[in-house]
């Protein structure tokens, strides 16, 4: 059982939540869904438009085949079956951000259906059914003038159609999710897969990943479903969980009081951490779906689907499995590395260079000092300037005894700062570990000669005192002495 359900009040366990998510993902194709305009985030308003995406009279849409490929790739990664023939419908409603006052979308014959995503909750796995994956075009953006940005307080609204026609996929789950935490983890896992597929940048801040949730409550163990509400504006992983938690409590409260939950669309406000119902008028839509007569059915031939399937890289779940079973990495390390595509790729490159004997060292670096550095500097691994090859040569030097692991840390720091190769840094600062027995023997003799008292203590059986002597040797060599070698020689000399 997860901790949310066992949480504080009794009401939490009394009702079981039934949650489904609808996620919109903007695809990062070069051009829009039905025209040749470049995609753009942050471009001058209305500069990335053409007669087609402005819906000018007489224009016609033409399907972007790259967008279809991206959508199929995603659907396959979510274990969906691709429908042999799918149809684009028109979803009719009036709004000023819609150039045609209908959105080209898919309705009863979507691109793909019947998939699933396994969400790892640590102590258990929640399999979330994917009802469908379909394609559609995005709308433009309305900007309400005035400081608040709210329509009710503005005196004019202006519209930017740059986003209009951006290819979107919508991923709809079965109502299989049982807790707000699962909803959050589902979305994290989904995002990670899509990032692995490289079909979207999945930025929730920029709106290229957007999520709406449905939630209803039923008495724990009951079969019948409760009345659901839809929650919009869940624009971060945190808000997904918070919004659903609030809605759970609100619905549970109503049920406790014997009141009815109304079927509503509710808006999550992260400032107050509450949801509020949208006005009825705003949700009373009859979209009058019908097949878009300007487009022909999308026929998917098996070979094309197979070709796309072959392009799917190893996904996070498979990666974790390989790290655990083949590489023998600790569970937490494996998950941490796989949770970021670039990190996993980086690690895989290191593992390739280093081979099975030393790849654990790479994993430790990547999740340890390297991660700490990136975190401190707010960098992505790609931006670090440290290539896998450089990190590996650093590791090779440690493993080969050329530098101590303590020195290695400072070498790494300099690598990060100066982007120099570890080899060069070591040469430049003369940091190579001293493993010459003759040389070390000489230094040890000097230390022994200078510390009669401590030497006596050791000889009297105070073994711990030897640490001080070794420390002296390290200090004399500026940390470059091979500690294992020093220890051996020192012990031998003192036992004489």
């Amino acid at each position: 059982m997860n901790k949310y359900m066992n949480n504080n009040t009794g009401e939490m366990a009394k009702y079981e939540a039934v949650i489904g998510l609808e996620t919109h993902v903007e695809l990062s194709t070069n051009t829009k869904m039905f025209c040749g305009c470049a995609l753009s985030f942050g471009a001058e308003p209305n500069t990335r438009t053409c007669p087609v995406c402005l819906g000018l009279p007489g224009t016609l849409p033409v399907i972007n085949s790259k967008a279809v490929q991206f959508a199929i790739k995603t659907a396959l990664a979510l274990n969906c079956s691709i429908n042999k023939s799918s149809i684009f419908h028109r979803k009719n409603y009036f709004y000023a951000d819609m150039p045609k006052n209908y959105q080209i979308s898919q309705y009863n014959r979507p691109l793909a259906s019947n998939g699933f995503l396994d969400v790892d909750m640590g102590s258990y796995v929640r399999r979330v059914g994917i009802t469908r994956v379909h394609m559609e075009e995005d709308t433009g953006k309305l900007i309400h003038t005035g400081s608040s940005g709210r329509i009710s307080e503005s005196d004019a609204s202006i519209v930017d159609y740059n986003r209009a026609g951006t290819p979107l996929i919508e991923i709809v789950t079965e109502p299989d999710i049982r807790t707000p935490a699962e909803a959050k983890e589902y979305l994290i896992a989904l995002r990670n897969i899509i990032l692995y597929l490289d079909v979207s940048d999945c930025s929730m801040e920029q709106g290229s990943l957007r999520c709406d949730a449905n939630i209803s409550l039923k008495p724990a163990g009951a079969k019948s479903m409760g009345t659901k509400t839809e929650i919009k504006n869940l624009n971060s992983f945190r808000f997904i969980q918070r919004g659903l938690e609030y809605e759970y409590k609100r619905q549970a409260g109503l049920l406790e009081e014997g009141k009815k939950v109304l079927q509503q669309t509710r808006h999550y406000d992260h400032l107050t951490d509450t949801t509020s119902a949208l006005r009825l008028k705003e949700e009373a839509h009859d979209y009058r779906y019908f097949p878009d007569p300007d487009l022909v059915p999308l026929i998917m031939d098996k070979d094309a689907v197979q070709d796309i399937k072959r392009e799917i890289p190893e996904l996070p779940g498979e990666k974790i499995k390989r790290y655990l079973e083949v590489f023998g990495l600790p569970d937490e390390t494996a998950r941490l590395i796989a949770s970021d595509k670039d990190t996993a790729q980086y690690f895989d490159r290191c593992a390739n260079i280093l081979g099975p004997g030393k790849l654990k060292a790479a994993a430790n670096w990547i999740t340890g000092d390297f991660a700490a550095y990136l975190n401190k500097e707010s960098l992505k691994i790609k931006q670090s300037g440290i290539s896998a090859e450089s990190l590996c040569s650093l590791i090779e030097m440690i493993e080969g005894g050329r530098i101590s692991s303590k020195i290695a840390k400072s070498v790494f720091e300099e690598m990060a700062q100066s982007k120099k190769e570890p080899q060069d840094i070591i040469m430049e600062h003369n940091l190579e570990q001293v493993s010459d027995e003759g040389e070390l023997s000489k230094i040890i003799d000097e230390v022994i000669a200078a510390n009669d008292e401590v030497v006596q203590q050791v000889k009297d059986g105070k073994d711990k005192a030897i640490g001080f002597l070794i420390g002296q040797v390290m200090a004399k060599t500026k940390g470059k002495a091979n500690p294992a070698l020093v220890n051996g020689i020192m012990s031998k000399k003192l036992k004489k």
């Binding site: 402005l54 819906g55 000018l56 009279p57 007489g58 016609l60 033409v62 009058r288 300007d294 022909v296």
Partner: protein, 488 residues
């Protein structure tokens, strides 16, 4: 004969022999337009300075040794629902009264390659909805052969322009008969090509699954040549068909010996004026003399064609016309203080009554709870109609029927009764539902001296059979009717 009553293929020969120049042709058209536009109202936008400028450019082109194409220097009237870059394109609607497109329709680009001359933007029923050209925000068009009469619709302007010598030929659009019916009522030739043969890119949609651009011409030869000029696959239109380059004039053969002609009894049923039926039967007799086999046939599903059409076309139209909302272009009501008020008032004032009627019908048919009973069912019956035609074309090369059940009717006669107006497309509508090609050629005159049109229908992409049959019958019938009285 005045230059403006000649065909494009005749003018081409004269241009080749240097018997005329581009400016002569343009001047002749300009003269007739200046004289007749006030009487006929064939154009919404006619600009003589643009006409002259184009003619001058083409003179230079020809002088520089430029190739003479079929439509080089030929003034073509373009229905005002086909987008012309920088030139107003209104759809005969108040809502687009000042709309200037920023691009050219594909058919216009193709004619530009021919170095054609845009004669003007021709009047039409608003958004191509109508059969009499009385639903225009810019006033009705008169039939040049009898100014009391309608020219037919919705391509009434293009048909009247060609009939009256205000253009050599024209581009119309045909959703349920909008090229063929006015061609029939004006005594000229109108072709609706196979759906997908001509790109719709730049044609302002009425009903996307039915609309086709096609030629309106003085004779069958010009029809074939104009189709060759405007047809062809277009990457901008997902519904366009790739046939490769076809020269349709190669099918203009005067030989229908052994041709199997079916006459669907559903298209010769009650409601067809007896003079119209007689005239068509006359033509069929001629065909028989020329060696064709004529048989009566039955396509039972055609009985439902009108009903199916008036579900599907308004449904698509209701969605296609939602973009006219005052937000981005076109007419906007400036008094409105909210978005929804602006939508309502803009559309209430911008659209005419017939357009509103069809938007209402279509919105209703697509509404949840009614979709299955109307739109979905209409699509199923549409499939039956397609299959009935398919079966017929297994046995027959072409089908022949009247184009319109009546000759031109009086202006105002049917405006109060939409249903009787809708019935004037009863013979042409089934063809659009099945996506087939069909032509209307004149086959005779009524006792009132009004032209009667005959429709030849062929199977998908069998324009070859249409041209062969039409060409042969045109020769046999020898129809000739010019509104010369207008010039007296």
């Amino acid at each position: 004969m005045q230059l403006n009553f000649l065909t494009a293929h005749k003018l081409k020969k004269m241009l080749e022999k240097r018997e005329v120049c581009a400016s002569d042709i343009a001047a002749s058209i300009q003269e007739s337009c200046e004289k007749l536009q006030p009487k006929i109202n064939a154009y919404i936008n006619f600009d003589k300075s643009i006409l002259q400028k184009q003619a001058e450019e083409i003179e230079c082109y020809i002088a520089a040794g430029g190739k003479l194409h079929d439509f080089t220097a030929i003034p073509v009237a373009v229905k005002d629902n086909i987008c012309t870059h920088g030139i107003k394109t209104t759809c005969a609607s108040k809502i687009l009264a000042d709309y200037v497109p920023v691009y050219d329709a594909t058919v216009i680009k193709k004619l530009q390659e021919h170095k054609y001359v845009l004669a003007g933007k021709a009047n039409m029923d608003e958004f191509a909805m109508g059969s009499s050209n009385e639903n225009s925000a810019f006033g009705p068009v008169k039939n040049p052969l009898d100014l009391q009469m309608v020219p037919g619709g919705s391509s009434g302007g293009p048909a009247a322009a060609v009939c009256a010598g205000m253009a050599i030929c024209a581009l119309g659009s045909d959703t349920g008969g909008s090229i063929r019916q006015p061609a029939s009522l004006c005594g000229i030739v109108g072709l609706k090509p196979t759906y997908g043969l001509v790109s719709r890119y730049g044609l302002i949609s009425f009903a996307s699954s039915l609309d086709q651009v096609g030629p309106i011409t003085r004779d069958v030869t010009d029809s074939a040549n104009l189709l060759s000029a405007i047809s062809g696959w277009d990457q901008c239109d997902s519904t366009s068909i790739n046939t490769g380059k076809v020269s349709y004039k190669d099918f203009l053969v005067d030989d229908i010996k052994g041709l199997n002609i079916g006459v669907p009894k559903q298209l010769m049923a009650e409601g067809v004026d007896s003079q119209v039926a007689d005239s068509v039967n006359n033509a069929l007799e001629m065909a028989q003399h020329l060696g064709a086999n004529i048989e009566q046939i039955s396509l039972p599903s055609l009985e439902y064609a009108l009903s199916v059409f008036y579900v599907i076309a308004p449904s698509e139209a209701s969605s296609n016309l939602s973009k006219f909302d005052g937000v981005r272009y076109g007419y906007r009501n400036m008094q409105a203080s909210t978005l929804h008020q602006m939508y309502r008032q803009t559309r209430a004032q911008g659209f005419g009554p017939e357009v509103k009627r069809r938007i209402m019908i279509g919105t209703y048919c697509l509404s949840s709870g009614y979709y299955d009973a109307y739109y979905e069912k209409a699509q199923r019956v549409r499939t039956l109609i397609i299959n009935d035609f398919k079966k017929a074309f297994e046995k027959y090369d072409v089908l022949i029927s009247p184009t319109s059940p009546t000759t031109a009717f009086k202006i105002g006669e049917k405006t109060g009764d939409p249903l009787s107006m809708y019935l004037s497309d009863i013979c042409t509508i089934p063809v659009n539902l099945a996506g087939l090609p069909a032509i209307s050629i004149p086959c005779g005159l009524s006792s009132e001296n009004l032209p009667i049109g005959l429709q030849i229908i062929a199977g998908t992409l069998r324009e070859d059979l249409i041209f062969k049959t039409a060409y042969s019958l045109e020769k046999a019938i020898g129809f000739n009717k010019f509104p010369l009285h207008l010039y007296e």
